[in-house]
Amino acid sequence: MTLSAYLTVAGLLFCIGLFGALTRRNTIGILMGIELMFNAANLNLVAFNRFLHFDRLDGNVMTLFIIGVAAAEAVVGLALVVAIYRNINTIYAEDFNLLKG
């Protein structure tokens, strides 16, 4: 398989995630879109590591870090969702308008 095939899959996955993050009304849906984008990036990194620098493992390690950071992000984000839901009884993003000037 060529590198471009993997990259194309990753790119498509990224765009799907972006679309989800931009369009979902549900906050949890937005978070899921972001997770998809993370995975697309990870896939990119691993693919580059495998095809261009097969004698090294830096891409894999970086991916590992990203997984860790993504896990932390998911935990905090979901905790925020729960807290918001508890306070204003909704999780739809358009109802969060405290920043309105």
């Binding site: 972006l18 993050a21 931009l22 358009e94 308008n97 920043l99 309105k100």
Partner: protein
């Protein structure tokens, strides 16, 4: 005792502060006793020094004319101006120390009775102590600068004491008048002081004396300095033409009049000239000016006393007249006789004032037409005032006779013409003093109600009278005996050249005394009909005298004139100068400002406001885009990234 003489002015100063700030104000205040005790101590101290000096127990500094001369530095500005706090004790200073402390002590004792019901006793005694302190400081100071400072302090306390009953309009006006008149004269003193410092570079009396003696200072300058000092003395000692404040100063409490406006403060001018006599001795013009001023003052004041009916006014004119005598004495090289007269005058004039105060205290009136026959009701006061009247009138062998005789002797030696006027004035003195005494104490009561109400004053008031009466009787003779006073107070200067026949001087004096007293007795002892008809006949003269030769009117006219001049100057300033220069210039400035304002508001502010409005409009426009939706922000970010990335890639 001599070495610690500097304590004599300091003790009353401290006392006055203690009285002023300590204790409670009121009728029952115990502070007067503190003042009297302090003054008693000072009197004992001063009298010991005086008698030691008089009897030769303490010697003069070898080669110099003083007993004690010490100083310590006080102020220094640069190299040239150094002012010392110093003590210079010579004959006149010792004499004045004794006189001031004695009169002050007696007046304070007397005030216990006189001011018995006053509500501001504490304040009164504080001022008395303060005055005494300033006066003694002036007497002792070795520096003309400190002398000047004390001179002003004396003026201030005089102001405070004349206006002691400040709630009444009379005293308030009188205190203001006295202060301003003397300040006017002090300008002369001040100019003299500056001239003196300019030419000698020091304020120290001894150093100045040495420089003058060596002839280092031109005669014209000395004349100018002398005239300046003389002007100061004219104000302080109530000489022509600035005497106008003294009769009004009688509005103050009578003991104050006795202390300040008879015995002590008003002789400050005489003392100043005596203290700086080495200048006058070398400045003939200034000295003869002093002589003429003194002569006319003595004469004119005596004539004014003839018609006055207010008992204190008579005494005030008499004081002016006697001060004129002293000034005349100084002017005719009679240094010793003038200071001799100063001493004796202090005793009998204080006595007269205190006696008058006693009478006023009893009768509650100043007008002699309400009195008469009071000798029977007030024997002690009547007797003592009688002694004083005879003394001042020139009864032979009493104090006044010796001192006045000495002055007349010196006047004759200087100029027989002046002597004639002086002797005539002596006659006038005998006449008006006898008139006062006859109107007050002899004859029949003219106001029975007041007569019945009158009674002798308490012991605290009569005791000082007796003490002063003793001094009036004997002091002159004792001091004259064996030339005691002349040894103590003398100045080796020039003397007059005329010699009179031995019998002429005493003879003339005795004649005018008998004539004056006899005339007064004849006119006033019975009914006042003769006197009244005389007043009618010479009403123009009486008017002139009662208006004080129009001196007051003259000064008021001067003030009025200056008012008018000021008004005219103000008119010119406001209507012409202001209109052209200020208002015209203002118009130009306003026109320029209007143009400037237009440019500023239209262009500059327009630009500033435009920027503001633009920002505001842009902000409110952008605000519609921003709805607080985080997802939208994300959309915008993505859009921007996508567009930018596309643009970058398609290059």
């Amino acid at each position: 005792m001599l070495q610690t003489a500097y304590l004599i002015p300091l003790i009353p100063l401290v006392t006055s502060l203690v009285i002023l700030f300590g204790g409670k104000e009121g009728k029952d205040s115990k502070m007067p006793f503190l003042g009297i005790a302090a003054m008693g101590w000072c009197f004992i101290h001063a009298s010991v020094v005086f008698f030691q000096a008089l009897t030769g127990r303490i010697a003069l500094d070898p080669g110099n004319g003083y007993f004690l001369y010490e100083q310590l530095p006080w102020l220094a500005w640069g190299d040239r101006l150094r002012i010392y706090l110093g003590v210079l004790i010579d004959g006149p200073a010792v004499t004045l120390l004794f006189v001031v402390t004695l009169v002050s002590l007696l007046v304070q004792i007397y005030s216990l009775g006189y001011m018995h019901d006053d509500k501001r006793k504490k304040r009164y005694y504080a001022f008395l102590s303060f005055f005494t302190s300033a006066m003694l400081g002036m007497v002792l100071s070795s520096s003309v600068f400190i002398l000047f400072a004390c001179w002003e302090l004396v003026g201030v306390s005089s102001y405070l004491l004349i206006g002691f009953w400040f709630e009444k309009p009379g005293p308030a006006y009188a205190s203001k008048k006295a202060f301003m008149t003397t300040k006017l004269a002090d300008c002369g003193f001040y100019v003299g002081l500056l001239l003196l410092f300019y030419y000698t570079g020091t304020f120290d009396l001894v150093q100045i004396g040495n420089q003058v003696e060596k002839g280092l200072i031109p005669v014209n300058v000395l004349n100018a300095i002398g005239i300046g000092f003389l002007i100061g003395a004219i104000g302080k000692s109530a000489q022509l033409p600035l005497f106008i404040w003294l009769p009004d100063a009688m509005e103050g409490p009578t003991p104050v009049s006795a202390l300040i406006h008879a015995a002590t403060m008003v002789v400050a001018g005489i003392y100043l000239i005596a203290r700086t006599y080495f200048i006058f001795n070398a400045a003939p013009a200034a000295l003869s000016a002093a002589a003429w001023v003194g002569l006319f003052t003595a004469f004119i004041a005596a004539t004014m006393a003839v018609t006055a009916y207010d008992i204190k006014k008579v005494l005030a004119y008499s004081t002016i007249s006697q001060l004129g005598y002293m000034m005349l004495g100084l002017g005719v090289y009679g240094y010793t006789s003038a200071l001799f007269h100063l001493t004796t005058h202090a005793f009998f004039k204080a006595l007269l004032f205190l006696g008058a105060g006693s009478v006023i205290h009893a009768v509650h009136s100043n007008d002699m037409r309400d009195m008469g026959g009071l000798l029977k009701r007030m024997p002690a006061t009547g007797t003592t005032v009688g002694i004083a009247t005879l003394t001042i009138a020139g009864m032979p062998f009493l104090s006044g006779w010796w001192s006045k005789e000495a002055i007349l002797h010196d006047v004759y030696a200087y100029s027989p013409g002046m002597w004639v006027i002086a002797v005539f004035t002596a006659g006038l003195t005998a006449f008006y003093m006898a008139r006062m005494y006859v109107l007050t104490f002899l004859g029949t009561p003219r106001n029975n109600e007041k007569y019945e109400h009158a009674h002798e004053s308490p012991t605290s008031m009569t005791a000082p009278l007796w003490v002063l009466a003793g001094f009036s009787l004997l002091a002159g003779g004792i001091l004259h005996y064996n030339h005691l006073f002349e040894h103590l107070v003398h100045f080796d200067g020039q003397h007059g050249k005329h010699h009179a026949p031995a019998f002429l001087l005493p003879g003339a004096a005795i004649f005018v005394f008998i004539f004056g007293v006899g005339l007064a007795h004849k006119l006033y002892s019975g009914s006042l009909e003769t006197a009244k008809s005389l007043r009618k006949q010479f009403s123009w003269a009486v008017d002139t005298l009662e208006k004080r030769y129009y001196f007051d009117d003259f000064f008021l006219w001067l003030v009025d004139l200056s008012d008018k001049l000021a008004a005219a100057a103000f008119w010119i300033d406001s209507k012409i100068i202001d209109a052209i220069f200020i208002d015209g210039w203002a118009l130009v400035v306003r026109a320029f400002a209007a143009v400037h304002d237009f440019i500023d508001s239209f262009f500059v502010d327009g630009a500033v406001d435009g920027v503001g409005t633009l920002t505001q409009d842009a902000g409110s426009g952008l605000r519609k885009l921003v709805r607080g939706q985080v997802q939208e922000y994300l959309l915008y970010v993505s859009l921007a990234v996508a567009v930018y990335a596309t643009f970058m890639l398609s290059r």
